[in-house]
Assembly symmetry: C2
């Protein structure tokens, strides 16, 4: 297998470029075998570009670049051509297309997506909110949240809350356990904002067994027992019915997929 | 100002496409004025494409697509051409380039970036870790973490921890307050893993005042007093010196930028 080395060159942090490169590499090598992605952030002048192209040449790397200034894009394009390096201009063609459509010139400023504007602070606030009101820590959060997640353990409540926070939703989550009465606030929340997360008993059993083994415990500890799981899921449905909210099955689903589903439902209800 | 409507069409959730579109729109309208981005996830057949192209036509939208199958990419390309809709194939050209480079055929499977593989579970684990060990909740986390953040309040410790978690780093953070002795574990951590976060006293004062006003409190409450801030920062430097770790100034920096800086330092020390 040939080694694959990709340089992501950006005038900002290189976040966007890296995400695209990862999506493409996954199409060839889903486990990123024999593959290196290297980011070059804050690339702002000709010297930077010259250096990177030299390193790429020496290491036989591809270059994917996200540069706001057209002059810089042309510069790296020509340098790569001269040195016979395969390269891709990620933003340039889309910037041109958008310009054509709306008939406005681009600002050509680096790092505009990472601006410290209202939107940025909304995201930061949402991330902090989700940490603060994770795992039923403070039931007052339920009434302040845009989205409330309830579920048995191991249904990805925490990562899902964080993912939604990055999309600017304030999320609180509450674990449901038969022994503990759910907070009264849960039944005051608009059911359209609330989502019950469920997972198949078989899958839950596997996850818990793995967890127990990872903790060095005997895998037939009560936590993993089938009976117990059934009881928890029955309790879950009882609570969810009282709330009157939708239920999402997260079995074998990535957090991104469930989050997307929730966002669609929330936006439809607006 | 012309309205700008962009459809992001994906065979998976449309995450990557949306991020690129946002980066491009920010180059024209940093506050996304008069702009709509609409995601069409899980687009898997010709009928889906036909429908979307019709809606795009009716709404005068641009289409940006991320589709793994070449057949599907051709289909949407031709449909858009027929209907005179401006469109961009985001992944296609890069897939071709990579194929040329490594001489392997692409898998053409949707959603490979969202696979429930080891890497995915590492991310989930890191996100849960950061929530669990946020705000000095449990000092045992400090010895298990890949990265430890310490700082005075309002230095973005929580969102920074979460951002790094998405990059697979396990992060614990500890607030430093003169009244509370930092946990002893902090001084057992490898200083190369640890980062002190500092912010200019002026900026900290502004942030705190805003916070007090948002909470409906008088803005000259002790929390915001200049003297107090100086005292906190002096205490911060005393602790950081004892740890022997680097200090990063986060004043006016986006979380992404600071995170990038930390990742570079961590990777260099490996």
């Amino acid at each position: 297998m040939k080694s694959l080395k990709v340089f992501v060159v950006s005038d900002s942090v290189g976040e966007t470029g890296e995400q695209v490169v990862k999506a493409v590499i996954a199409q060839f090598r889903p486990n990123f075998e024999n593959t290196v992605i290297r980011r070059f952030p804050h690339i702002e002048n000709d010297d930077h570009i010259k250096n990177i192209v030299e390193i790429a040449k020496a290491q036989d790397a591809l270059i994917v670049y996200t540069l706001a200034e057209e002059k810089m894009r042309q510069k790296i394009h020509h340098s790569c051509q001269q040195e016979n390096i395969l390269s891709i201009d990620l933003l340039g063609p889309i910037i041109q297309l958008f310009q054509e459509k709306i008939d406005e010139p681009p600002l050509e400023e680096a790092g505009l997506v990472h601006k410290l504007d209202d939107d940025y602070f909304r995201k930061i606030e949402a991330v902090e909110f989700a940490v603060k009101y994770d795992d039923g820590r403070d039931p007052r959060g339920l009434l302040l949240a845009d989205v409330v997640l309830v579920g048995v353990s191991r249904t990805s409540k925490t990562p899902l809350s964080q993912y939604l926070a990055h999309k600017r939703y304030k999320v609180a989550n509450v674990p449901l356990v038969p022994e503990i009465n759910p907070p009264e606030e849960l039944f005051l929340v608009d059911p359209k904002k609330c989502f019950g997360l469920v997972i198949s008993p078989e899958k839950l059993n596997i996850i818990r067994k793995e967890r127990l083994i990872a903790l060095g415990l005997n895998d037939d500890a009560i936590y993993a027992k089938q009976e117990r799981i059934k009881q928890e899921i029955a309790h879950f449905y009882k609570v969810v019915e009282r709330i009157g909210c939708s239920v999402l099955d997260v079995t074998n689903k990535a957090v991104e997929e469930t989050a997307n589903d929730i966002i669609e439902r929330i936006e439809q209800n607006k």
